[in-house]
Symmetry: C2
Subunit: 426 residues, 2 copies
């Protein structure tokens, strides 16, 4: 029997606990949706003020140089690099995850076509985040490749002589299931396919080592576990052996070797900088610094290894508490029980259409914020998602969250009209 | 002989003068670079604070709905629409100008290929802003079109049976020369070519009427004359007869008909919303509202017609003052003297390598901010650019600016080492 006191004792012993004070967490709220939008680092308010009032307002056009606006994609990329096992000059922060995936997948398909023209299949996972599939489908159709969608257990046997690219999201957005990055990347390489990772639910949440895995390309998101702010620009990584090889299709001036020479012909910049395109949203970029400052502080407390240990302790506690408190209410577990197969979220299942959405609405009304993802009613169950970010969550928070869930279910709160009516769009 | 007093009298009679008070303009600075980065509307400081501290900090994930973050691309697009002669539901604010140009030019080439496969030439202007040429070159090469670059006077006769698309920037970034949008669009249509406009130096600076001109696609920038902040997202417009016709290549989830259904197949949204791709930088988007609020106030004072009249009065004054004060110093005029052929900037010329850059540096040291664009030494002279934004500039400002220019030239200040050494990157 796990008690509130047990949880409070774990908090008292948590070496990472000081990091929570770096965030603004609204009074009375238990925020378990940092896998969708991370909370605000307290420093972001002053930084926004400084960028707007001083850098823009006073500095005006001069701030492109004096405030180093021009180099922000590279400078922020270098800060993300250690979190994903990349060298500092291999990562950029720019554009959106979807646009960056278009760039790197375009490059991967061009490489495959040139080096191994007989390979015409792109493999991905059926339950990959849809935007990845949309972009992959569009590029495959345009370039004469076939997109083949698989279940996770089918991937190894599907890799073969026709495989050009394997495109996977490291941690599944619905279930929280995590691929073995090293193993899958090695299998792709062995089969002669290029490996592209989407790290949207990995960066800042689980240890990632792209270079050690021998991956080829990666993209990811900065507004989830990196706490960069709503819609903060995304990142991309290109293995150094590929970066100078292909011009990307979005050949905008920021990726030019000499953007301010204003030459009429396009000369791609050396290295990963050629994956830049147009002028970046400076204010949204700048706030990512505040999110990354927290990781600098976490570094002194054990870094990603310590964060991973706490993340797993949180998710194991959450699962155990749900089993202890809510076993009679028709919930299942979508997230793998084996810790190595789990990201930093726990997803509970509910039969499709059996009130999962209303349950989440009732929970939110109690101040516990997770989110709901509808299943397709066929193979997929409905999902209640809970992001368990180790930077700012307490063990105690999970005890209260699950107690609220128990009350919602035991009292039938979710059957009240206002929760049944509410429509989720996130 | 134009005197300072003449200029001050014109300011006293300027009905638009109250708008200046809506901006932060640093003490002691005359800012003539709003064509590169517009100054900060005073309201932006509070808006940034509100979006960061309240919408993100307190609202967290809920603000996607409660603060209408999701609809910002459409809502801001609807605000820009009247400034460019479009209907409110035809414009989006999203991504960058380069990325948006990729989308609309991709769509235009796909339409041309389907409707008129014998047309394989894309026409543009040799001195178009380079990123437009880079994107056009990349797409033409990928899709089997030929990009033909012309001088402005060659365009009419080059339009013919092989012309698929005419891609022009309405106001030239170097010279400030403006195309006759209605006339050129009609000539393109007459020749059977699709017309794509880049409005980077037009929106908010000169009257634009895309629908009346019968144009097909347009893109533009919000951080210049619209004063949206550094790197604020760009806009795009698609003629309603085209918007539902083609799926764009950057088929990200924000352009899906039902992004939160998370279906594995891509179904483009109806209308222009299909030109969305990934999650947008909310903070940078939000500040554009402050820039557009100023245009709402301008509307009550005569709107774009009044702004255009003041803009031309400013540029005519600037040219006259330069002729009066600086005629002996080897400067020429790149901007057309005919007001109908001029945007909202004046560009002075200097022989290539004859100190133009140092002159601008010396001017900036005196608090007059314009910028420098090097020529190619062959056909192009070096350029000193002065953006003359009617929302916040006074006639008096131009008198002082030209007087500073005269002093820089007369005293040979630009020949001092520190100005000779400085390197411009913007």
């Amino acid at each position: 029997m796990i008690t509130l006191e047990d949880c409070q004792q774990r908090d008292a012993a948590d070496a990472l606990r000081p990091l929570r004070a770096l965030f603004h967490l609204p009074q009375g709220l238990i925020y378990l949706d940092g896998n969708s939008l991370g909370p605000m680092p307290l420093a972001a308010v002053a930084r926004a003020q400084d960028v707007v009032a001083r850098e823009w307002g006073e500095g005006l056009i001069r701030s492109w140089n004096s405030a180093d606006w021009f180099t922000m994609p590279q400078r922020l990329g270098a800060r993300i690099a250690p979190l994903i096992g990349a060298a500092p000059d291999q990562v950029l922060v720019t554009d959106t995850t979807s646009v960056n995936l278009y760039k790197v997948l375009f490059a991967a398909l061009a490489m495959a076509r040139q080096d191994q023209p007989e390979r015409r299949v792109v493999l991905s996972e059926r339950s990959n985040f849809p935007t990845d599939l949309y972009i992959a489908h569009s590029l495959c159709a345009a370039q004469g490749f076939t997109l083949k969608l698989l279940e996770p257990h089918e991937i190894a046997s599907a890799l073969g002589a026709d495989s050009a690219v394997l495109l996977l999201t490291h941690v599944n957005y619905r279930t929280g299931a995590m691929h073995d990055m090293a193993g899958v990347s090695a299998a792709a390489r062995q089969a002669g396919a290029l490996m592209v990772w989407d790290l949207a639910h990995s960066a800042g949440a689980v240890p990632v080592d792209l270079l050690a895995a021998g991956a080829d390309f990666a993209v990811g998101c900065s507004y989830k576990y990196l706490n960069g702010g709503p819609g903060a620009p995304a990142f991309l990584w290109v293995h150094p052996q590929h970066s100078a090889r292909f011009a990307q299709p979005l050949s905008g001036w920021w990726g030019h070797a000499a953007p301010f020479a204003f030459t009429p012909d396009y000369q791609p910049a050396p290295g990963v900088a050629r994956y830049l395109c147009g002028t970046q949203p400076i204010l949204s970029l700048a706030l990512l610094d505040c999110g990354l400052d927290v990781f600098d502080q976490a570094q002194a407390l054990g870094g990603m290894a310590a964060l991973r240990a706490k993340s797993l302790a949180l998710s194991e506690l959450f699962i155990a508490l749900v089993e202890q408190q809510c076993s009679d209410f028709g919930l299942g577990l979508a997230t793998p029980r084996a810790s190595a197969e789990r990201g930093s979220q726990v997803s509970l299942t509910r039969a499709h259409g059996a009130g999962g959405h209303a349950i989440m609405q009732a929970l939110i009304a109690r101040g516990v914020i997770g989110d709901f993802r509808a299943g397709d009613g066929a193979e997929q169950l409905d999902i209640l998602r809970f992001g368990l970010a180790p930077l700012y969550l307490r063990f105690e928070d999970l005890w209260h969250a699950v107690d609220h869930l128990r009350q919602v279910l035991a009292r039938g709160e979710w059957q009240q009209a206002q929760f049944q009516r509410a429509h989720a769009v996130t």
